[in-house]
């Protein structure tokens, strides 16, 4: 049980800066997900915490203890690797007991802890098997079990689901959340998959090119992304962006994209008035674009646009429509009854109440 703290941590590999001045506080018992595209430094951050890599600058704390010079084995953390890294010549039991026996835990204790972890994970039938006799999902559980028996202060998980098939991944996601609730220990989870981040995290930390972009609950990141990167990364399908100019008369403001002229709702007008006459980036999520004839009640129909349908993807309960209009390409998530045919124009309404606006230079979000 421990909180984890990064303070101005930097890690360089030669010329490349893998982690750049990372400051992040992870309270005890939190499920924090580090998410970002590949090469963003999320795995490096985890390896720095585990002690497998050494930071060039900055301090790392586990609990109140500064661990910069503490070797991995004394940091009281357990890690689950993407490849599981099970010891192939040892049985499942020995895989789980290995770390305990090295720490001179009494035999009876080892036995109790391994059996309990195996029961929690539903692998008690497999204890005598070798890793090569297990399926991918079972191996993944053994890797988790090996971490659980250690009763560490924090669990570090490096893309533990990415080797599972899609169905098993969804199932294991829920199980990991349950496991976290049951163990009441800090989980630090690295993934490139924002859906995993959204579904499991108590808080998400988004990294890009070694720099921490934003930390917050899934809801915060989705509704109030701090910059263009986070806005585009969180949410699937990704947010659409338009370069627009703010125009306006006395009280009504418009966003002009060249093709479209979109009215700004009254409650957003105040924050955007400062940008009058300037350019900015408009973000609209695919779910905030509606077919005109199936407009849900309560949405102002005044931001109406038309665009040509390029490609359709029917999901059953919803319809993804790839649209083109002049230089713009964007994606809408429509009611499946919408009358969209490839090559034909369709009438759409943007829900401007949920617009996101970003400064064109700093790419930072504009909020009140």
């Amino acid at each position: 049980m421990a909180e984890v703290r990064f303070e101005n941590v930097t890690k360089r590999f030669g010329e490349t800066v893998a982690v750049n001045d990372l400051t992040l506080e992870i309270p005890d018992k939190e499920f924090l997900v580090l998410v970002g595209p590949s090469g963003c430094g999320k795995s490096t951050a985890l390896r720095l915490l585990s002690g497998l890599e050494e930071a060039n600058e900055g301090d790392i704390y586990i609990g109140e203890r500064l661990v910069n010079d503490v070797p991995s084995k004394d940091r009281n953390i357990a890690m689950v690797f993407q490849s599981y890294a099970l010891y192939p010549h040892m049985s499942v039991y020995d895989n789980m007991a290995f770390g305990l026996s090295l720490r001179k835990v009494p035999k009876a204790d080892i036995n109790r802890r391994v059996n309990e972890a195996a029961r929690i994970l539903g692998i008690d039938e497999l204890l005598k098997r070798k890793p090569r006799q297990l399926s991918g999902g079972q191996r993944q559980r053994v890797a988790l079990g090996r971490a659980i028996v250690r009763e560490p202060a924090a669990f570090l998980l490096d893309e533990p689901l990415s080797n599972l098939d899609a169905k098993l991944r969804v199932q294991t996601r829920a199980e990991l959340v349950k496991l976290h609730q049951r163990l009441e220990t800090t989980f630090i989870y690295v993934t490139h998959d924002q859906i995993e981040a959204m579904t499991m995290a108590s808080r998400i930390a988004v990294l890009d090119r070694g720099v921490l972009q934003q930390v917050g609950t899934p809801q915060e990141l989705y509704t109030r992304p701090g910059n263009v990167f986070v806005a585009g990364f969180i949410g699937s399908p990704a947010m659409n962006f338009f370069d627009v100019t703010i125009e306006g008369e006395t009280d009504a403001l418009y966003l002009d994209s060249g093709d479209y002229r979109l009215p700004v709702p009254a409650q957003k007008a105040a924050m955007l008035r400062a940008y009058l006459g300037k350019k900015l980036k408009l973000g609209i999520r695919p779910e905030d674009i509606h077919a005109k004839e199936f407009l849900p009640s309560g949405i102002d129909p005044s931001a109406a646009v038309s665009a040509k349908v390029d490609v359709l993807e029917l999901m059953g309960n919803e319809l993804f429509v790839y649209l083109v209009n002049g230089k713009h390409q964007f994606l809408a998530r429509l009611d499946p009854r919408a009358n969209a045919r490839p090559g034909q124009d369709i009438e759409l309404v943007f829900n401007m109440d949920n617009l996101h606006a970003f400064d064109i230079n700093t790419e930072k979000a504009i909020y009140d």
């Binding site: 084995k73 953390i77 690797f81 490849s83 290995f98 090295l102 890793p131 090569r132």
Partner: protein
């Protein structure tokens, strides 16, 4: 669809496919059998000769032995073992070969682990230097090493020849083991370090067990090299009481000139152990033990 006929499925199509597969591989099998026969024939001839009486060996070829009346004897073996000291030499060969295999592999294992997984300055240059030692011909080292062993009073002793074989074997052992260790999955070792293992434990509990195929084949090579060695033993082990079989057989040639039946028997005695070891360890050549370590 069963195209290659790998399953013995019922039905005429499956049978035809199986037949087709056999026919198409027939030339390959024929070539392998012919090559194997060619290689085996001389050894087989020696084996037959070693069981024939001396008069028969010196007068007729070994292939005539299969005519009646059969005339085989164990006399050659018993006389070589008792009178010519082959029994003593057999023991000497073991005393030389077993440490001469274990010491270099253990030392090379430590070195290879360091070269593969531990970070220190000049690691790669040092490794290249060790590999470069492979090109030094053994003949060049005979005199300097002999003088060195003389200075430290190890000439004619077993430890002296163990050291010599260790030194000659190390570069290749280090080279082979480092390359094998280096391709073990990195996460496996990291996982062990996180589990609290020291370098020594990682080496003995993880790296060595996972490298059984490499270590086994290396052990076979090193053992055969030491077991069959004549030159090193001849130069550094001048005491006839400690002579290994190679030296004793060599002496048989000079003292008995043409007594082929004794030579063949002696040769077969020296071949028994390598054959047994090869057959016992050969499964490690084919068995991949790392299966299941990582997603595969």
């Amino acid at each position: 669809m069963n195209i290659r006929g790998t399953q013995s499925s019922a039905g005429p199509q499956g049978f035809m496919a199986t037949l087709k597969g056999l026919v198409s591989r027939l030339p390959l099998h024929a070539v392998i059998i012919i090559v194997a026969l060619l290689w085996m024939t001389p050894a087989f001839g020696l084996l037959v000769s070693s069981f024939r009486p001396s008069t028969a060996v010196s007068s007729t070829g070994w292939w005539t032995a299969f005519q009646t009346p059969f005339d085989f004897t164990l006399q050659n073996y018993s006389s070589v073992l008792s009178q010519n000291g082959m029994a003593r030499s057999f023991v000497n060969s073991l005393i030389i070969s077993i440490p001469g295999t274990i010491i270099p592999i253990l030392v090379a294992g430590f070195a290879a682990f360091a070269f593969a997984w531990m970070k220190f300055r000049g690691r790669d240059i040092l490794f290249m230097f060790v590999v470069a030692l492979l090109v030094v011909p053994i003949q060049m080292t005979l005199i300097p090493v002999l003088r060195l062993l003389t200075n430290i009073n190890l000439v004619g002793s077993f430890p002296g020849i163990w050291l010599a074989h260790t030194a000659y074997g190390l570069p290749f052992c280090v080279f082979l083991l480092r390359n094998f260790f280096a391709q073990l999955p990195k996460e496996l070792l990291e996982s062990a370090y996180l589990d609290g293992a020291s370098n020594l434990r990682v080496f003995f509990r993880l790296v060595l067990p996972l490298s059984v195929p490499a270590v086994a084949s290396l052990a076979i090579f090193q053992f055969l090299w030491v077991w069959n060695d004549l030159l090193v033993a001849l130069v550094y082990l001048q005491d006839p009481a400690k002579a290994p079989m190679t030296v004793t057989i060599n002496n048989l040639v000079s003292s008995f000139g043409t007594q082929w039946q004794l030579l063949t028997a002696a040769a077969f005695i020296s071949m028994i152990l390598p054959l047994v070891i090869f057959l016992a360890l050969q499964r490690y050549f084919v068995e991949g033990i790392t299966a299941g370590a990582v997603k595969g």
